[in-house]
Amino acid sequence: MLTEYGTKHAVHVITNHFGDLVAKVCECLLRKGPLTRQNVKRYTELSDEQVKNALLVLIQQNCVQAFTTEQPDGFADGPKANTQYVVLFDNILHRVRFAKFLTILSQEFDQQCVELVQGLLEHGRLTLKQMFDRAKSSEKEGNLVDLDSLRETLVKLVTAHYVERCPASEPLLMPISEEEGPARKKGSKSAKKIGEPETIEQQVVEAALPMEAMRFSVVTNVESDVGEKEKNSNNVTPGEKRKHDVLELDECGVADEQSVVYRANFEGFIRRLRHKGCIDHVRAHLDDGAANVLSAMLQATSSAEKKVKTKNSVPLSLSSIYEEVIKSEAGRNMTLDHVRASLVQLGELSFVDASSDSYSIDFEKIIEIAQNEEVESVVSKRYGRDAYRIFRLLSKSGRLLETDKISDTTFVEKKDAPKILYKLWKDGYLLMEKLVVTGARQSQFLLWKVNRQILWKHVLDEMFHAALNLSLRVSYELDREKELLNLPADKRTGPLQDRYNRIRKVRILLESSQMKLDDAILLFHDF
């Protein structure tokens, strides 16, 4: 269930990138859920052509996925296939993160890789031929692009799971029967926990995904196939046969280059950002040594991760960890004792589980601590230090506590505690229950609790609200100074130059804040 500001923020992103018309269709799907084209037309009151074009743009840009369901029509003809469209909310959020994705790539790959993915992010999805045409059109002298090297680049990215084949255009979604429900959910990789119902979005995405081997494959091996066919042939002269086979395979290869569509694999980038987030958190809590050890463990085990929200890494022995640590420049100077000591420190904070001489990262714990700190920081800055202690007490205890007990434990004045608790409750940070005790006199007690599940949703909505506000303020500021920004540099003198300097600083601050806030959204929504 999307929150109000989650929806508003997503619509705003689509408006900025694709205009009002596409945003209207997107908002309709966000608010109403999956719809047929007819129903989108009905709710948006747009023409058929407009709805079609908007959907095409959203599908091209991976923000909407079409799917079919079987509708039994009650007549002898049998069930009818019915195409609906579901919005991919996560992919809309990813649109503001493209710069972060490209930064990751630039740290691991060369410029050609970065440019290829840049093209995929810009255009949504491309065939190899389209990638080649795009690269050719921006070719610089002395830096010619050839298809083979581009294909190699694509293979590198697909192997690293940063690029994938596009999913099926209209997968069939089978209805889940009541008996099948929990059993099916158990095996699903997109369900957060066993038993937690999958959303339609998750079901459709899963149904559309190609098989793993297909998803991360690129057709490359033209020459060796030619060799195989040659061996088997007897009757035709070698030259003619070879020419015939190459032509045949060339046609297949060319067909693939023009038909197989690829896109950026957001999951791959989010997984990498999650790792990076964990490393940064460990560095902030402990030191560089511990961060190097964690980084090495991630390096050694990340290929075994099946999904983004993996709970634990594959266990590693101390010697395997050490071997990985000393591979990196940062870890080269670490001794085995130093690595062991860092693992002990990580274990104390429960960031790493140690059992039977093997070590495994507890991602959930690292992320849980990071999330707690984020919320506690808001409570401290918004409501003060007393509220901070009260919130931490309730958050750690996880159960209902009575007002007096809270004030005693947190050393907050008896007269102040109820006011703080009430304020936190009114703003959605606490739950409150009344307990009436009847005895000689009737007494009423107020009990308070932090409910993480409800609160986290509320906090995320506030973050979406803040993200929307930042974006609106950027637009407002730039719009106000539109004429000034269009003025040539030599005409900006005196007060105009001061205003220009101001707007530059404002833009840098607001845009960097948007990126920083997005880190918090990643922490609560994607990690």
């Binding site: 700190e373 803040a466 506000n469 930042l470 303020r473 922490l523």
Partner: protein, 234 residues
């Protein structure tokens, strides 16, 4: 902080007027460490005394050091009267950490600071270790009980200046039984007692008290927001 010992309950009283005797008896006969609210006391008097007589008598008894006034921390307007020989119950006075109806914030700050100092000195400390260390330091004229130390240490954990860990019996936990609760200084995170500013808290909206009233085109909006204007005032 006052830590007077409880005297016996047969303290001799000076010569009292009849009114004073009446009032003194009512005060003394009530739950000794709870005292009695002035208004309740007036109700319990067998004779109906005018207010000015009651007030004068109370003042006289106080001057003769026979009774004292204790502020009820649940309601500072309600003054309780009790015989001087009794310590007010925690329900009325708030306990060791309250002084005259309010939290003794200075004292609490000092004890917190001492606990933190000892934990930093010991690197890893149990409650007993902290308690012994404070006793040996002679920082306080009176001995703090183990319960008092525990209350303060828990509050310092809530301040995120120290963390609670369990001993694993080895390394820095050698000499501490496995599983025993210990306390360590938080190395970085809560530096100086201030929580690290999170991503959300570093933008005006993240800490805005008006966030629930803010809408894109409302009276309170990102375009009209005074907090933004101040933040962007270069």
């Amino acid at each position: 902080m006052s830590k007077r010992k409880r005297p016996d309950s047969n303290a001799p009283s000076d010569s009292l007027t009849d009114h004073e005797r009446l009032i003194y008896d009512v005060i003394r006969s009530n739950k000794q460490d709870m005292g009695i609210w002035t208004r309740d006391m007036k109700r319990e008097l067998k004779v109906n005394l005018p207010d000015n007589i009651v007030t004068k008598s109370i003042k006289s008894l106080q001057n003769k050091s026979l009774i004292k006034e204790v502020v009820n921390i649940h309601n500072k307007g309600k003054k309780h009267l009790m015989a001087v020989e009794f310590e007010p119950s925690k329900d009325i006075s708030g306990g060791a950490w309250y002084s005259e109806g309010s939290l003794d914030t200075e004292f609490i700050k000092v004890v917190k600071s001492q606990c933190l100092k000892q934990i930093i000195k010991l690197k890893v400390a149990t409650l007993e270790g902290i308690s012994d260390s404070i006793k040996r330091s002679g920082a306080f004229k009176v001995d703090l009980t183990k319960q008092q130390i525990e209350e303060i240490v828990r509050a310092v954990v809530l301040d995120n200046q120290i963390m609670e860990v369990k001993s694993n019996g080895s390394g820095e936990f050698t000499n501490i039984p496995v599983g025993k609760v210990c306390y360590k200084n938080v190395s970085k995170g809560g530096g100086g007692g201030e929580p690290k500013t999170g991503s959300s808290a570093s933008v005006p909206c993240g800490v805005c008290p008006q966030i629930n009233f803010c809408t894109p085109d409302g009276v309170i909006s990102p375009k009209t927001c005074v907090y933004y204007t101040k933040w962007l005032d270069f």
